[in-house]
């Protein structure tokens, strides 16, 4: 038996996978990793991850091997180290497998110039899926663990590490993007040409009122010429909705299942991952694609 204990949960640490689908018509959000590019990369190093990835934001978790040993890999741009059982400290890198033995403690201090980081565990974390997914929606309290991780949480990993061989991949090119090509949203015609011009030419700032549900932007007010109150309809992550204060919100993975604000535009799938990594105060711009 192998087990790990969370010695410091960090902020916003949750279990995520590629998302929970086929349930949005029952009011259940897709959730899933905010930056899906990273867990896609981690699959190459830890193929047997069982879809049980640990996601963290800003301040990372510390994890100690309580019993046995585990093989893990970290994804993202993180400041971190390993405190060995014998009190020595080891450097460690993202996108390179790490073998941890009883008493070793992985300490992820923080993410650098980004928001989200991930840990993949060989053989997963011994969790049972909830509605065919391991993802956590903390607001709806749905998930294998239906809350953020806490200090002292313990995970049992029944299977032993398959091989101690160190595996690494070149650091993926997850370039920082601040200009986003967007598609017209279903309510594009709710906004006048002048307002659309402000949307395209304006600079928007990511505010600290941003989380897994949505990223709130601050910029020139985008007031609808028609209404900011529409009959609720199905929405998908990446949609940019505009409530009556004119400040757009980019809807993210823990999306409300239906929404009643007009959607001016929508990001493509990979840009949802990209925008999730931009810390508050980052300035962004939009390019509207007219033909698609």
């Amino acid at each position: 038996m192998n087990s790990i204990i969370i010695t410091r949960a960090g902020t916003h640490s949750t279990i995520q996978d590629f998302g929970r689908f086929q349930y949005q018509h029952l009011g259940i959000s897709p959730s899933g990793a905010m930056d899906q590019r990273i867990i896609t990369e981690l699959q190459k190093i830890i193929p047997n991850h069982q879809n049980q990835f640990l996601e963290f934001a800003y301040v990372g978790p510390s994890i100690k091997v309580k019993e046995g040993s585990v093989k893990i890999c970290i994804g993202g741009n993180c400041n971190m180290s390993i405190q060995k059982n014998n009190n020595s400290q080891l450097e460690c890198q993202s996108y390179k497998s790490i073998n941890l033995f009883e008493g070793d403690e992985l300490i992820i201090h923080n993410t650098i110039d980004s928001v989200y980081g991930y840990i993949a565990f060989e053989h997963g974390l011994g969790l049972e899926p909830c509605l065919n997914s391991y993802s956590t929606d903390t607001k709806a309290r749905i998930g294998s663990i239906n809350r953020p991780l806490n200090d002292e949480d313990i995970f049992h990993i029944n299977k032993d590490v398959s091989s101690w061989d160190l595996i690494s991949i070149p650091k993926p090119d997850l370039e920082k993007v601040t200009n986003f090509k967007v598609y017209p949203g279903p309510q594009l015609q709710y906004f006048s040409d002048n307002t659309l011009q402000s949307f395209i030419s304006g600079v928007f700032t990511i505010t600290n009122q941003s989380d897994r549900m949505g990223i709130r932007l601050k910029g020139e007010s985008l007031i609808s010429s028609k209404s900011h109150d529409i009959l609720s309809e199905g929405i998908l992550p990446g949609s940019i909705q505009v409530p009556s204060d004119g400040q757009p919100i980019v809807l993210m993975r823990d999306i409300p299942c239906t929404g009643g604000y007009p959607k001016i535009a929508i990001l493509n799938e990979v840009d949802i991952s990209r925008i999730s990594q931009l810390p508050p105060e980052t300035k962004i711009t939009f390019d509207l694609q007219t033909i698609y």
Partner: protein
């Protein structure tokens, strides 16, 4: 036929448009279409019906474009609308006791009617389940009799008890879990309508018909103690 056409929603979504109005007959067409599209077993990630739209989401634009025609064809093929009825009709016990009916006086005052009249009116109608949304398993039911139509609370409640029955505008609802919310609370039902342990976690589905019947507090307590599972509730309270 209210169906107007199919539009793109970003690079991986489609919106089936049924106009801008809302009515039970539009919702019936939406919910029948929802079942028809679901039965196509397309590689879609989510199919989300609402009052007059159905949003279909795919993994990427390539898969979306490959499947758009299949949906268009299904929409044109009116002969295929031979949907076997899978929706249910529910008779749901409701306790309108003052301990639960937190806002019933607001409705009484607005419409100048007695508490008994509110209860009789609310339990006289077979409601249609427009769709499930807002929170997991939350049914939008309607329409309530015109003498009960009441705006949302001016200040939403921070904590509405789980299983509460609410009225807002021409809709009535049941809160599956404790939640903030602005609906006028008039009673409570004695069991959970959302259960993650169940393979199909929501008791109600879009298109279901729901009628409430008034039970006393002692009857309410009796039912509550059974702790019915969703499967048991289906056997007990639906047809």
């Amino acid at each position: 036929m209210y169906f107007k056409g199919i539009n793109s929603y970003g690079d991986r979504g489609l919106v089936l448009d049924f106009g801008n109005e809302t009515s039970k007959s539009i919702s019936q067409e939406v919910n029948e279409t929802f079942l028809n599209i679901s039965n196509l077993n397309l590689p879609s990630l989510n199919i989300i019906p609402s009052f007059n739209k159905i949003v279909v989401i795919f993994e990427n634009s390539k898969i979306r474009d490959q499947n758009k025609d299949k949906i268009s064809m299904k929409m044109k093929d009116t002969n295929s609308q031979t949907n076997k009825k899978v929706t249910k009709t529910w008779e749901i016990p409701a306790c309108y006791n003052e301990d639960f009916a937190l806002d019933i006086k607001i409705i009484q005052k607005l419409h100048q009617i007695t508490k008994e009249e509110v209860i009789n009116l609310h339990s006289s109608v077979r409601y249609y389940t427009y769709y499930i949304g807002f929170m997991p398993g939350f049914p939008y039911l309607g329409d309530v009799p015109s003498q009960l139509i009441t705006p949302r609370l001016a200040t939403p409640r921070v904590k509405i008890p789980a299983r509460s029955i609410g009225i807002a505008k021409n809709h009535t609802c049941i809160y599956p879990k404790v939640s903030p919310g602005g609906w006028n609370i008039i009673g409570q039902i004695p069991f959970d309508i959302f259960d993650l342990q169940s393979s199909y976690p929501s008791l109600f589905l879009p298109g279901d018909e729901v009628k409430f019947y008034s039970v006393s507090l002692s009857e309410f307590e009796k039912i509550r103690k059974y702790n019915f599972s969703l499967n048991e509730l289906i056997k007990e309270y639906s047809s």
